[in-house]
């Protein structure tokens, strides 16, 4: 490839130069065409991000001008804010449990739906359906009714003579119900897995069968390795998404009881919009960004030990 290009530029100098200017023109036209998005990105995304970085070093109540306080916000967060520690640990617990559970569960469902059965499309639709209304407030409200002290779950338990606890109103179980809700919203993860499963070449299974491999062996030696890029993708997105969990905690538990479900995003929201501490909230946001960025980086570094790309000849990097 490279040799080929080299000879071409060597022998046909003039057309290449023209080509370059033409590319420049095309580039400009391209930028003009994407300018609506570009302007939107610069004004509505990049500018506010830059501003929030500045605000994180100030004391800002929204209504008065920000006052520069240096690293005060960060110092207070790290040394003198027990709510920060609490909400961070709640969020870590949430991520730690909900991400693997969701991955496992959606993989199992994807495997079950990857069979050639009659009416499979119907099953797929039916199982994916709840995810269409997934992150909505309606589902959060439903969850509250199910896991409330007089909710459906406890009613069903009562048939068997078991007295349920107030799943949502008990600090020991409240986070669990939110993890369960997050796991149940497996739809999009599952669809991505399903697409990944479809990509696994059938001939690999056939040749493995010829070599006498059983179902389990085929799963661990063919399916799982070939699915690892998809798994990696879902893992990274899952971690980022879970760190930002807000709706369920806000609607179902309001962060309580006693901060047991006080997610980081909710802490941030309340600091900003309930207590008007925009500077402090901005600092919190940047800390969250750093944590998520760091975890994603670690993930990418770890991925070379377990993610296989077929294009690399099935070798890890």
């Amino acid at each position: 490839m490279t040799a080929d290009t080299a000879t071409r530029t060597g022998t046909e100098m003039e057309p290449a130069a023209r080509k370059r200017t033409r590319t420049k023109g095309n580039q400009l036209a391209g930028y003009v065409f994407i300018s609506p998005w570009l302007i939107g990105f610069l004004l509505l995304t990049l500018w506010p991000i830059a501003q929030s970085f500045y605000l994180s070093f100030t004391d800002y109540s929204l209504l008065e001008d920000p006052v520069w306080t240096g690293t005060n916000n960060y110092t207070k967060i790290f040394t003198d804010d027990s709510t920060f520690t609490k909400s961070l640990s709640v969020t870590f617990m949430f991520v730690l449990f909900s991400v693997p559970l969701k991955l496992f569960f959606s993989l199992m469902v994807a495997l079950a739906l990857n069979k050639n059965l009659r009416g499979m499309n119907l099953y797929r639709t039916a199982i994916y359906f709840p995810s269409l209304i997934g992150g909505s407030i309606a589902v959060a409200a439903l969850w509250r009714n199910m896991f409330g002290i007089d909710g459906y779950i406890n009613n069903v338990l009562a048939w068997f003579g078991i007295e349920g606890v107030g799943w949502i109103s008990n600090p020991d179980t409240s986070l669990g119900t939110l993890i369960l809700l997050n796991t149940w919203q497996f739809g999009s993860t599952m669809v991505i897995f399903l697409a990944g499963l479809k990509q696994v070449p059938q001939e690999l299974y056939e040749s493995a069968s010829v070599d006498g491999a059983g179902k389990v062996r085929k799963f661990f030696s063919i399916t799982l390795p070939l699915l690892s890029p998809v798994m990696f993708f879902n893992l990274v997105l899952g971690i980022i998404g879970s760190f930002q969990t807000f709706t369920s905690a806000f609607i179902i538990t309001k962060g309580g009881p006693i901060n047991s479900t006080y997610m980081y995003a909710m802490f941030l929201y309340e600091k900003a919009f309930k207590h008007y501490q925009m500077g402090y909230a901005s600092a919190l946001a940047w800390i969250l960004l750093s944590i998520v960025a760091l975890l994603t980086l670690l993930n990418f570094m770890a991925s070379r030990y377990w993610v296989f790309y077929e294009s690399d000849g099935g070798k890890t990097k």
Partner: protein, 445 residues
């Protein structure tokens, strides 16, 4: 050569952009023209209407009854003043106070909004509310009331009603189990003893009184015992009496052990005015707090079963009875004059008064109340009863000082942790006091 091609392309692009733009503006022109034509057809009126036409946005919280009544009142106003129409938004208490801060942050608070005594200081301190002192309320509102409501000598909310805090009790079930009704001006000692006695007579799963973890519950106690309120002097003075604090919450700790109050887990699942989850309407707790403005919702959940009494008292008195719900005007409103005219009308128009009835408590305007009095329903009479019972012992209404919203949350969370047995009362006291002192120092400096 190459350059030429480039300019040509750019020219083409420019032309395309121009075409798109002119296509858009062409559409706009067409629309305008059509609009002008209809205006012209409407003759003189058409020329006047755009100049004087105002849409007032208005937001309030409350129950369905209040929503319906208020919408009716808005219709009446539009009928009387055809130039003014409304863009109403209404919701429940929680949703309202979740939404308002975001509106405040984006400077898009509605022209007119309902305000509560518990939050008005905070919003005034942040410059969100318009000074309404120039509205002439003589003959409509008692001058003393206005004086009491003034913040730094200015009026930021038009009082709508007389309100009072009391305790509602389930009179049917108390009778059934042979428990005497609480009496007017009962003291805290009598209140606690009543709860202990009632426990002995109630079956399992029912509780005489509810638990308390919010700051106002203790503030009632501290002030009734003759001490200053927790926050005073605009938040510059912070007083949390440790002896009273320990005494008060140790009593409740004893109550949790002896099942006089429901377990923390149960308490956390209560939702007031929800048919299934209301502590009292669900039949679980025999009493709960109720105000003049809110007791009718409870009565509707359990008709004929609700009795009321004033809050327990101490040597200094107890509870409060005053105006706590207001209509305010946003400082960023573009229709301040219309808004001011409307808020005055809201408490002075007879027809509106009839439509609104007692959906916000006892109307502040005595003329309107006297017209309503003969037609009051049982649910409305309860509200009046709370007010009358509370009046002679009433202390002022104490609201959180500006800047204390986070402290209010912290107070509840720390006390919740006590009810769940996760920390001692003293630990909670230390944290609550430390934060309060810091905030007071900040407000003073």
């Amino acid at each position: 050569m190459a350059n030429k091609g480039w300019t040509k392309r750019l020219g083409m692009l420019m032309m395309a952009v121009m075409l798109v733009l002119s296509a858009c503006s062409g559409g706009g022109n067409g629309g305008n023209k059509a609009g002008e034509e209809t205006d012209a057809g409407a003759d003189n009126k058409g020329n006047e209407a755009p100049a004087g036409k105002t849409t007032l946005s208005i937001m309030w919280w409350g129950t369905d009854a209040r929503h319906e009544a208020t919408q009716k009142a808005l219709d009446i106003y539009t009928k009387q003043n055809p130039a003014v129409t409304f863009k109403p938004e209404f919701m429940a208490w929680d949703a309202f106070w979740q939404k308002l801060p975001t509106l405040a942050a984006s400077k898009t608070i509605t022209d007119v909004l309902q305000m509560d005594a518990a939050f008005i200081q905070e919003y005034v301190a942040r410059g969100q509310l318009e000074d309404l002192s120039d509205i002439d309320l003589s003959g409509i509102v008692d001058p003393n009331v206005i004086e009491n409501l003034s913040i730094d000598g200015k009026l930021y909310g038009i009082p709508l009603s007389q309100n009072a805090q009391g305790i509602a009790f389930n009179k049917t079930e108390l009778d059934e189990f042979g428990i005497p009704h609480p009496h007017k001006d009962w003291t805290y000692d009598e209140f606690f003893q009543w709860a202990r006695d009632a426990r002995a007579k109630l079956p399992e799963g029912k509780y005489p009184i509810g638990d308390t973890t919010t700051w106002d519950g203790f503030n009632y106690y501290q002030t009734a015992m003759g001490k200053p309120p927790v926050m005073s002097d605009g938040g510059k003075t912070f007083t949390l009496d440790k002896d009273l604090f320990m005494e008060f919450y140790q009593t409740y700790e004893e109550f949790r052990k002896s099942k006089i109050v429901p377990p923390a887990e149960k308490a956390a699942s209560f939702l007031e005015n929800d048919p299934q989850a209301d502590p009292m309407a669900s039949g679980v707790v025999m009493t709960r707090g109720a105000t003049t403005g809110s007791v009718s919702a409870l009565e509707q959940l359990m008709p004929g079963k609700v009795g009321v009494v004033n809050l327990p008292t101490g040597p200094a008195g107890g509870g409060w009875a005053q105006s706590t719900i207001f209509l305010s005007v946003s400082a960023t409103s573009k229709n301040k004059d219309e808004a001011k005219k409307f808020v005055k009308w809201f408490i002075s128009d007879k027809e509106a008064g009839k439509a609104l009835a007692l959906t916000r408590g006892i109307p502040i305007n005595p003329d309107i109340y006297s017209e309503l009095e003969p037609t009051l329903e049982a649910k409305d009479k309860l509200g009046k009863e709370i007010y009358d019972l509370s009046l002679d012992k009433a202390l002022p209404f104490y609201s959180p000082a500006a800047g204390f919203s986070e402290w209010v949350d912290t107070y509840r969370k720390e006390m919740d942790a006590v009810t769940f047995g996760q920390q001692s009362i003293e630990e909670a006291f230390n944290k609550i006091e430390k934060m309060g002192k810091e905030l007071a120092a900040k407000a003073g400096g």
